[in-house]
């Protein structure tokens, strides 16, 4: 199988590499670029753990051929923090205990970022719809909803329990 050239931007850096056509975006990010924050859960588009942002849109990296991402701007969870400071969504996940085993967390955070970038003050229903394709098998959904809500602009009072 002949390799083809792939150029894309990953977390702000331009990446050029040769890949076989049957390589998924998930495999390139994890295996060639070492970005293991991208998780492979079900591998068939159901669980959302492999979610990355492609030109700002949440996509399933397990169902996206790497070559389809040619020219695209990819953001993984590793690209969220700036200058050593966590992104407000990441910070909110920590403060609200929205992480249990952590496997779904990168996908949850990126799906939340895609939502908040479009709608900075979503209702709870809008958050639920945006995260409906991301499964948490620890079932910690309540805390995740609280964290996303806390990271939105409409939220003023921190909702931390005593």
């Amino acid at each position: 199988m002949k390799k083809q050239l792939l150029s894309m931007t990953v977390n702000g850096e331009e990446v050029n590499l040769a890949v076989t056509p049957n390589t998924t975006l998930l495999e390139v990010l994890r295996e060639d670029l070492g970005l293991t924050g991208v998780k492979e859960g079900c591998a068939e588009g159901v669980c959302g753990a492999c979610t990355v942002l492609m030109d700002g849109n949440p996509v399933r990296s397990c169902l996206t051929l790497a070559l389809e991402a040619g020219g695209a701007d990819i953001v993984t969870v590793e690209g969220m923090a700036t200058g050593g400071n966590l992104h407000p969504i990441q910070q909110a996940f920590i403060e609200h205990g929205a992480v249990q085993c952590g496997f779904c967390t990168p996908g949850m955070i990126l799906a939340s970022k895609a939502l908040l970038d479009r709608n900075s003050d979503p209702s709870e229903d809008e958050i639920k719809t945006a995260l409906a394709g991301n499964f948490c098998r620890c079932t910690g959904y309540r805390k995740i909803l609280e964290a996303v809500s806390a990271a939105s602009t409409g939220h003023t009072e921190p909702r931390r329990k005593e």
Binding site: V59, T129, A130, A132, G133
Partner: protein, 334 residues
């Protein structure tokens, strides 16, 4: 899960794509959003020589509202369809159907309207991993000579599961199909063969290019109803759509389509003449219920995660709910 090896073509014009298709035919499936195709490849339900990506073909993306119809290019992402002002204004049932597909991460950017129409029919015995299937033997679609769900069936009875299928059929949409030899159009209702192993009336050299929905000629009153176990990342157990024209308190036209029953959507034709010309009346719902059950009883078999008996009942519920909403008969018992 790894993909089987294949070559990758990403032509930048439809003509180039059609040339490749003319040469490679069925051994080179179309890759639009890939949310259905890649799962098939991972399950080894297909091992193509090549895939033809539509990524670079700009003429296959976009929506246009013309004088008499709305044109959805086949490669338009689902989210663009649901967010388009012309679609929202004219066809709210299509917006609802698109929102119920998969989840945001699938609708946004990747999944396409053409891909949803061409979703490969699904079956409990087919949409499984290679490992799972090796314990069951082969069926019509995997090289065998029988159906694992219905012994003795001459063809595959897998389920047409696209959310937009009943909606597009109820709205009398047309598909445009291109090949190296030219273009042709066909009604969505005739696009489906009723055979799961070759579900679409398309040759291996053809590509679906657009879906054309005629603009309503009067006040459209419509409904899309879907019943499934989960509200996201799940295929419908049954779905139904009604497109009716209600003018001056009378039903000028009425079309009810039930899908996710068998390999093709079912149009309840006999209801169309029975309801046309009448005033909406709760008494219409009993014939709708009976017609729905009669229509799907022959189409539904034991090949989904719910039993046949249950799905037949659901078909009646979905049909009555769709008819109630479209005819303004809300709050009627279903």
């Amino acid at each position: 899960m790894r993909l089987p090896p294949f070559a990758y073509h990403a032509p930048d014009t439809l003509d180039k794509a059609l040339k490749i298709k003319a040469e490679l035919g069925a051994s080179a499936p179309i890759l639009a959003g890939g949310t259905d195709l890649l799962v098939h490849l991972k399950h080894r339900l297909a091992s193509p020589a090549a895939v033809i990506s539509l990524k670079n073909i700009r003429t296959l993306k976009g929506i246009e509202v013309g004088a008499d119809s709305l044109v959805l290019r086949a490669g338009t992402p689902l989210r663009e369809v649901a967010a388009h002002e012309g679609v929202i204004r004219n066809f709210p049932l299509l917006v609802k159907a698109v929102h119920s597909i998969g989840a945001v991460g699938i609708q946004h950017f990747r999944g396409t309207i053409g891909g949803n129409l061409c979703l490969t029919p699904r079956c409990l015995f087919y949409n499984q991993s290679l490992f799972w299937r090796t314990g069951k033997g082969q069926c019509h679609r995997t090289g065998g000579k029988d159906c694992l769900a219905l012994k003795g069936s001459e063809s595959c009875q897998a389920i047409c599961s696209g959310d937009t299928v009943p909606v597009l059929a109820a709205l009398s949409a047309q598909v445009t199909i291109a090949s190296a030899g030219g273009m042709r159009t066909a009604p969505v209702a005739e696009f489906f063969t009723g055979k799961g192993e070759s579900p679409f009336n398309m040759t291996p050299e053809e590509i679906l290019t657009e879906i054309r929905i005629p603009l309503p000629w009067g006040p459209l009153s419509s409904s899309y109803q879907r019943l499934s176990f989960r509200s996201a990342v799940d295929f419908p157990l049954i779905n139904a759509a009604v497109a009716a024209i209600l003018d001056k308190g009378k039903v000028e036209s009425f079309r009810l389509v039930i899908s996710s029953a068998g390999p093709a959507p079912v149009i309840l034709k006999e209801l169309e003449s029975a309801i046309k010309g009448q005033k909406p009346d709760p008494a219409m719902l009993q014939p709708v219920r009976e017609a729905a059950i009669k229509a799907v009883e022959g189409a539904i078999i034991e090949n989904a995660s719910a039993s046949k008996e249950y799905r037949v009942k659901l078909a009646a519920v979905a049909a009555v709910r769709a008819a109630s909403e479209a005819l303004g008969l809300e709050n009627q018992p279903s």
